[in-house]
């Protein structure tokens, strides 16, 4: 049985053609009829589509009749394509014996891809290389093959030139999967151990887990135990995705499928956890489980204070589907009651925020994201700060530590100078630089996480005309000379606008902030003074002059309706404002104010 199974992932940079290739595979193996065939079947969240990113494709089981006459079960398990979700990538890869590396023939390998390939190699996966889009006039399959050989060490002979769009080479890819990727070799007789590599919440069936059975056998009706969380559940349904959910009686070692067990919360089916039988549990869970921890925090507040409970409900529901989301109530003088939420990264933050607004019809304000700081106080105790407004009194601070990342940037060699300049500017320290090909370079830097959170990636892209790719990994905490920068409106500190910054950059940042605020705070009845301070010292100031004109000079019988529309629009606009003291601040200010490009 297991001889005919191949479990594999596709590793590809955004837009290199992963979804197109997966669709083509579904078509060739007849998993979908032409009628069901819809562009990019597997790519499901609207939000992802809009943002042009693939976070994750759903797993799918393909029946492929190979040239040797045998029919094989190919399980395609996708990896999320964003650095925020690298732990999930590792679990998806851990569920496979092989990985298909897809590289755009006119772009070459990108940093993110490389990081994922290394991860796959560490897990001893067989790697099959393919260069895609060979139909494009700018394609340089030979150059890219050479690059793959040089960087990853794959023999370029084995790398398959394909065009996912036109279907060229896709059969060869399927053949290579059958021929090169080893079949799973789990012991069907051993105790059950199945790896949860993904899960989501279904309102009818409860949490659904995608699993890969490593050893043993799972049946409907079995009493299972989650080995890390320690909880037991009765299996109500198991099945495979081909690509629609199809129930089966059992899943055996080597197989991939889903399980439902009336689990009310996805937090009980954590990615990386091991499913075993409650009646005869395995002695050891599968390795590699990690508790995912947020790296970025921000305050999320309802514009309308009375929506606080609604926001709580919405977060609760979202969390059912996203166990990495963390939140706790927070109260701000400026913004009222809300929640401090923790995320895996900025993309994660953005997705959660948008889903809250769209799916739960909330109008929200978010404060600028913050990393987690560790502060050693003069009395030797330590404090963890996730919210700049909780920064201790500087008198009490002995030293401050902030998280650093190791960043890897790949870029054509013409841009080395500008990339290094940017990294230097973001307080980076150079680690090393390597030539991947005569024209492409890999640069490594240690950088404060806080610096790359905001506009780093955008600046990198714009300075390198989109050629650079970035990957990073959070490393350790490093002592830094950090201060809290406050913003005052008409003399009052606005807690939600406080931020932490490096001392050397404080003045520059303060200037940028007050200027930016001057531009986004509309004129009001009275002059608004905007100041930035460190402790009691004002280091930058601006003001918004009082409004002098807001009038409809003419209003007669013919245009009352039209003039009222204008007033309605103004009224709508007011809803996007938050009243802080006597000042009306656009609600986006709390987030956008931080998106300073201090490189310019």
């Amino acid at each position: 049985m297991q001889n005919r199974i191949r479990n594999f992932s596709i590793i590809a940079h955004i837009d290199h053609g992963k979804s197109t290739l997966a669709d083509r595979m579904l078509q060739i193996t007849g998993a979908l009829t032409a009628r069901e065939m819809r562009e990019q079947f597997l790519d499901k969240m609207d939000l992802e589509r809009e943002k042009g990113i693939t976070i994750k494709l759903q797993p799918v089981r393909l029946n492929y009749k190979a040239r040797d006459g045998q029919t094989y079960i190919l399980n395609l398990i996708d990896t999320p394509g964003h650095v925020d979700f690298s732990y999930e990538v590792s679990r998806s890869l851990a569920a496979c014996e092989g990985a298909l590396l897809v590289v755009d023939a006119s772009q070459g390998i990108e940093a993110q891809t490389l990081a994922n390939v290394y991860m796959a190699m560490d897990l001893n996966l067989e790697i099959i290389g393919a260069v895609n889009k060979i139909d494009l006039p700018g394609a340089e399959p030979e150059v890219v093959k050479q690059e793959i050989e040089d960087v990853i060490g794959l023999d370029q002979q084995g790398i398959i030139p394909i065009s996912a769009k036109l279907g060229i080479g896709v059969e060869e890819v399927l053949e290579a999967i059958v021929a090169k990727i080893p079949p799973p070799q789990g012991d069907e007789k051993a105790e059950l151990r199945a790896l949860i590599f993904d899960s989501y919440f279904d309102p009818y069936k409860g949490a659904i887990s995608y699993i890969r059975v490593d050893s043993g056998e799972l049946h409907k009706g079995d009493m299972i135990r989650m080995m890390y969380s320690g909880k037991d559940f009765e299996v109500t349904e198991i099945g495979v995705l081909s690509p629609f959910m199809t129930t089966v009686e059992s899943l055996k070692a080597g197989e991939v499928g889903y399980l439902a067990a009336a689990i009310k919360n996805v937090a009980d089916t954590k990615v990386g956890d091991t499913v075993t039988l409650a009646s005869c549990p395995a002695s050891q869970p599968l390795s590699g489980y990690q508790e995912v921890k947020p790296v970025v925090y921000c305050g999320i507040f309802p514009i309308d204070n009375s929506d606080f409970e609604k926001l709580r409900d919405a977060l609760e529901k979202l969390k059912l589907n996203d166990s990495s989301l963390i939140y706790e109530p927070e109260s701000s003088d400026a913004l009222g009651l809300g929640f401090r939420c923790g995320f895996l990264g900025l993309l994660h933050l953005e997705i959660v925020r948008e889903r809250l607004e769209r799916e739960y019809d909330l109008s929200l304000m978010a404060t600028a994201p913050s990393v987690i700081y560790r502060i050693i106080l003069t009395d030797r105790s330590e404090e963890t700060v996730r919210n700049p407004s909780h920064w201790p009194d500087p008198q009490r601070i002995d030293k401050v530590m902030e998280p650093y990342v190791k960043a890897i940037i790949m870029v054509p060699n013409d841009y080395v100078g500008t990339v290094m300049e940017l990294c230097q500017d973001k307080r980076g320290s150079f680690i090393n630089m390597e030539y991947l090909t005569p024209h492409r370079v890999m640069i490594s830097y240690n950088l404060p996480l806080a610096e790359i959170l905001f506009d780093f990636f955008d600046s990198l892209k714009s300075r390198t005309r989109g050629y650079a790719s970035l990957d990073y990994e959070v490393r350790d905490y490093v002592v830094s000379d950090l201060v809290k920068l406050d913003i005052l409106l008409n003399g009052e500190i606005v807690d939600a606008l406080s931020s932490i910054t490096h001392k050397d950059k404080a003045y520059f940042r303060a200037r940028g902030l007050v200027e930016r605020l001057r531009k986004i705070i509309p004129r009001q009845m009275y002059e608004v003074s905007i100041q930035a301070s460190i402790g009691n010292r004002i280091i930058a100031r601006e003001s918004v002059k009082a409004m002098r004109k807001d009038v409809l000079a003419k209003c007669y019988g013919g245009d009352i309706t039209r003039k009222k529309k204008l007033l309605e629009k103004q009224k709508e606009g007011k809803k996007k404002m938050k009243q802080i003291g006597h000042v009306e601040v656009p609600r986006d200010a709390f987030m956008t104010v931080m998106e300073l490009d201090d490189g310019k």
């Binding site: 009845m525 009038v551 003419k554």
Partner: protein, 383 residues
């Protein structure tokens, strides 16, 4: 509000001008030949006759606006007015206004207009400064404006308005003061002073966009406005609406109907009516309008808004606050059946705190400072 005893006004739209001004966003077409005017006159008369059946309210004002209604021959105006008198109940002495533009009328015309019953003229002077008039794309200069005004006085009109525009590119306090002085020389009973506010569709707005001309900043515009307020007060004018000034007793009764959120009947192509709680836009397109009137086909009418009692009350506040007398508590309650302070106390006190509204025993009204910021008050009453 379908109250058939309340007096209403009739607005008659004459959508023709000699040529289109640069800043104009009115519904008005350059006139091609005199025949159109005659056909249009007949259509207006037909429509007046046709609508007469459904209107039971007495008429208190007639306003011929445009466009340039002074392009009509006095005899045509006479026939239109005759149709009003023939078909509608008349309440007391009618105010009959007609808009004119300098250089479209001579002394004889004006005398004739007076003799056919027009008792109030509004003259689109805009400015006495040739450069400013040119920038606006007006057909006349300062001299023509003066000549027309002189003729209006000679013809014996004792109720007429001068329209002025401020906030023109490169306008200075001095040139604005000159224009105000010139207007006063003719001793008008009424002055309208409008801030130039350009609709995006106008050629002048395009020029601003491309940077060929630039408008004044808010501070400069505000100081022009308040200069006019002070100067005209010194001259004995009563500032009775945001942009309107009159000698006591010479407020424009027709326009007051708008600001009191009263109903009115709009006649003519593109005219708006407010009847039975609905605002609608009359048949667009002059040729269609003329055709439909001639053949007796129904006019195409677009409903702009159908108002709930609450919306009508909101209109009455938003429009009523344009008037310096403001909103009278008792009158409002009698008319709409609820107490305005009960409903809007928060907004009103908030505006008081900001120095935008003032209150006495009977009423509340905009402060002087609030006139030029009045949207800040109005938009809070929108429902």
């Amino acid at each position: 509000m379908a109250n058939s005893s309340a007096a209403i006004g009739i607005y008659i739209h004459i959508p023709f001008c000699l040529h289109k001004c640069e800043y104009c966003d009115f519904y008005s077409l350059p006139i091609t030949d005199a025949e159109v005017l005659e056909n249009y006159t007949r259509s207006i008369i037909r429509e007046l006759e046709h609508r007469a059946e459904s209107i039971k309210n007495p008429i208190t004002t007639v306003f011929l606006g445009g466009g340039t209604p002074s392009l009509l021959k006095p005899q045509q105006v006479e026939r239109i007015l005759a149709a009003v008198f023939a078909g509608y109940k008349i309440s007391g002495e009618l105010e009959i206004s007609l808009e004119t533009n300098p250089a479209t009328v001579n002394l004889q015309n004006i005398k004739d207009l007076k003799s056919v019953g027009v008792n109030r003229l509004s003259i689109g002077v805009q400015s006495f400064n040739d450069n400013e008039l040119k920038a606006l794309g007006r057909m006349h200069g300062g001299l023509e404006a003066r000549m027309t005004l002189r003729d209006v006085v000679r013809a014996g009109f004792n109720n007429y308005n001068i329209d002025l525009i401020y906030g023109l590119p490169n306008q200075t306090l001095a040139s604005w003061q000159d224009t105000l002085n010139s207007a006063i020389e003719f001793n008008p009973q009424h002055i309208s002073a409008y801030l130039l506010q350009l609709d995006d569709s106008t050629p002048m707005a395009q020029k601003v966009k491309t940077g060929t001309i630039s408008l004044l900043d808010d501070e400069a515009e505000a100081s022009l406005y308040y200069t006019a307020l002070e100067f005209l007060a010194e001259q004995g004018f009563h500032h009775y609406e945001i942009s309107n000034f009159s000698r006591p007793g010479y407020e424009c009764r027709h326009n007051l109907l708008y600001w009191q959120a009263r109903e009115y009947l709009g006649i003519g192509c593109g005219a708006v009516s407010y009847i039975n709680g609905q605002r609608h836009l009359n048949q667009a397109g002059v040729n269609k309008y003329i055709d439909n009137c001639r053949t007796g086909r129904p006019l195409g009418i677009e409903i702009l808004e159908t108002m709930t009692p609450r919306q009508m009350a909101a209109d009455a506040i938003i429009l009523g606050l344009r008037l310096s007398e403001g909103i009278k508590f008792k009158e409002f309650k009698d008319r709409f059946g609820f107490d305005i302070m009960g409903e809007h106390r928060d907004v009103i006190t908030n505006c008081q705190d900001k120095g935008l509204l003032q209150m006495d025993k009977e009423s509340f009204f905009l402060t002087k400072k609030a006139y030029f910021l009045s949207n800040q008050v109005f938009n809070q009453f929108i429902v």
